[in-house]
């Protein structure tokens, strides 16, 4: 069907400028250009994904001894696996709160720079630096900052005379997830800031100027003009941030290893542990978790974009 549409589509190049057939090429040419990419894609993306689906319905032991178990993995996960539900709870909490803070924080930072802050260019570069650092670097630095004895956070609390508040931030099940969330925000705020800033600079100046003429306060300007006009960008950021956090693995693995007492276990770390750390020797079960969780992510993303985008039709 889509092939038909492609063929009958008019040439998008300026009319008259193109020679008939200038966008045609022999099959051999196309095969030569596209071949390597398609081989990689088919062999190492398409096939593994299919195999994960296949594995999810099987029990896959060592030496690839595979037995069909039907939906048993899924029923086991959904009804009996308490660790899985704990991981889901952690991941969802982390994602919902983190996503909102991520996008709001990025927008606020961008507004600071947009409000003609001094050294905006330099600040932009510094604020973006954590985005470029690996999770290993960021994770280890923050493990040290959170350290009970000599970490900066407790040092500052003691210096302020608030020694009563000092914590073993990553060692206490009540604070560990939040400590990881702060680190994650610290790493990614710069990314959201940069994108909001680009969108802010792309706003038509007449609208902002008109608002100023109408003596619109900055808060009203933000709520009634800037945020509605940035809506498509903000939705994109929400979706990106959401997907990234639902698949959170590296930072947790480096900082807490899912502990203490499963307080920071996420679905991704649980998948890894079931596949490689627990001596269950079954790749089928973690595959089923991966399939289930990916379906959840896709469903959520579709739902989110539907809900948020519908009102996009409004023209302003």
């Amino acid at each position: 069907m889509s092939v038909e549409i492609t063929r009958t589509q008019p040439n998008p190049a300026p009319a008259g400028a193109s020679i008939v057939g200038s966008r045609q090429a022999s099959r051999a040419t196309i095969a030569a250009f596209l071949g390597p990419a398609l081989v990689i894609y088919a062999g190492f993306i398409f096939y593994p994904v299919l195999r994960t689906f296949y594995n999810s319905l099987h029990s896959v032991g060592p030496m690839n001894v595979t037995t069909f178990v039907g939906a048993q993995n899924f029923t086991q996960i959904l009804t009996h696996d308490h660790t899985f539900w704990r991981a889901v709870g952690n991941t969802v909490t982390f994602t919902l709160i983190g996503t909102v803070l991520d996008v709001l924080g990025g927008l606020l930072l961008a507004l600071c720079l947009f409000a003609r802050a001094p050294f905006a260019r330099l600040l932009r570069v510094v604020w973006f630096t954590p985005v470029l650092m690996s999770y290993v670097v960021v994770g280890i630095i923050w493990v040290w900052l959170y350290d009970y004895d000599w970490g900066l956070i407790n040092t500052i609390l003691r210096w302020l005379g608030l020694g009563a508040l000092e914590q073993s931030w990553l060692g206490d099940p009540h604070t560990a997830l939040w400590a990881v969330l702060v680190t994650h925000l610290w790493k990614w705020l710069g990314f959201n800031m940069i994108i909001c800033l680009a969108a802010l600079y792309a706003l038509p100046e007449e609208v902002l100027g008109a608002a100023e003429l109408d003596a619109c306060g900055w808060f009203a300007k933000l709520v009634y003009i800037i945020i509605p006009m940035l809506r498509p960008t903000l939705i994109n950021l929400l979706v990106l941030s959401f997907i990234g956090k639902m698949m959170l693995f590296d930072l947790v693995w480096i900082m807490t290893d899912g502990g203490p007492l499963w307080a920071t276990e996420t679905v991704s770390t649980y998948v890894y542990k079931r596949a490689f750390n627990w001596n269950t020797f079954d790749l089928g079960y973690p595959s089923a978790i991966a399939v289930l969780w990916s379906a959840m992510i896709v469903a959520f993303v579709v739902l989110m974009t539907r809900l948020l985008r519908q009102r996009d039709r409004l023209e302003f």
Binding site: V3, T6, R7, A13, S18, I19, S22, R23, A25, T29, A32, F33, L34, P36, A37, I40, Y41, G43, F44, I45, Y47, P48, V49, R51, T52, C112, A115, L123, R124, V125, V126, W127, T129, V131, M133, S134, Y135, V136, V137, I140, I141, W150, L152, F191, I194, I195, A198, A199, T233, L237, I243, M247, F249, D250, V271, A275, L283, S287, A290, S294
Partner: protein
């Protein structure tokens, strides 16, 4: 009268500054919060562990530059660094060649199923890695590529291919068709057109993907930890984690390792910050 006006003006100005002070304070604070930790690690990387435990936030006096040599040889960071460089270098080279060929083809020619191919390749951008990694582990194990650098290179090429094609195709599609028609009339072959027109003119986009892929893969952790087990094959992020696991308390040496892993990224960022920022944000604003 004039003096009073002037004084009034000065007060206005001062009030304006005062109103902006919270903003300025916030700007300074956030800059310290984002940049500070890196300066701290940089200072610790040239201090010894006893010095650090004596005063974690002291200045690096005297500076122990020799720690980098020790880290390179005794702590094996040199091995990890070369492994990282080989894996990332090969993966980026392959990605650039394969990706730009595919992007050129998708942007330039109309053919049966081109839309399907485009959607299929680009869908790799939003693919959750968990759906891939367990069976990729199985497949590489079958091919004897598990726990080998080539295996990791293959994994990296396949996971970064979608983004590479996406950025390149977007840029290549904007090149005017007339250019290619003229080249054809001059008798260029299809490959010459790619090699002598698309690539040189598309260099800015190609360069962006090179830098972007380099940094993303240099920092990569998940695939590496699943696909590599030998100490001699570990990439830098894995090597640092391994060192941290074995020498939890040797903060000074870990910091030196972190600096070795940060350095190439900082160097690239210093020279190409604009390209990097634009590349990282490509596609999010549309």
């Amino acid at each position: 009268m004039a003096a009073r006006l002037g004084r009034h003006h000065a007060i206005e100005l001062w009030l304006g500054h005062l109103r902006r002070t919270p903003l300025l304070l916030f700007l300074i604070l956030y800059t310290v919060v984002t940049g500070g930790p890196f300066l701290w690690v940089a200072m610790m990387s040239i201090r010894t562990t006893p010095e650090i435990f004596n005063d974690p936030y002291g200045l690096p006096v005297p500076a122990h530059w020799g720690k980098f040599a020790d880290a390179w040889t005794i702590s094996k960071y040199g091995t990890y660094f070369w492994n990282s460089l080989i894996v990332v270098g090969c993966a980026v080279a392959l990605l650039t060649i394969i990706g730009s060929m595919a992007a050129h083809c998708l942007a330039r020619y109309r053919f049966r199923g081109s839309r399907f191919v485009r959607v299929a390749i680009l869908s790799g951008m939003i693919l959750p890695p968990q759906l891939l990694i367990l069976s990729l582990f199985q497949i590489l194990l079958q091919f004897g590529l598990y726990n080998s650098l080539p295996g990791l290179i293959i994994a990296y090429v396949s996971t970064q291919l979608a983004m590479t094609v996406y950025i390149l195709e977007g840029f290549f599609a904007q090149l005017p068709q007339d250019l290619f028609d003229a080249a054809r009339m001059d008798g260029y072959s299809e490959f010459e057109i790619f090699w002598r027109i698309t690539l040189p003119i598309g260099m800015p986009a190609v360069f962006t993907t090179i830098i972007l892929n380099f940094i993303i893969l240099w920092n990569e952790f998940l695939y590496a930890i699943v696909l590599l087990t030998d100490d001699d094959k570990r990439t830098l992020p894995l090597g640092i984690m391994h060192f941290m696991g074995a020498h939890q308390l040797d903060v000074g040496m870990i910091a030196t390792g972190l600096m070795i892993s940060i350095a190439p990224v900082i160097l690239m960022y210093a020279f190409f910050s604009d390209i990097l920022i634009k590349g990282m944000t490509a596609g999010a604003v549309r």
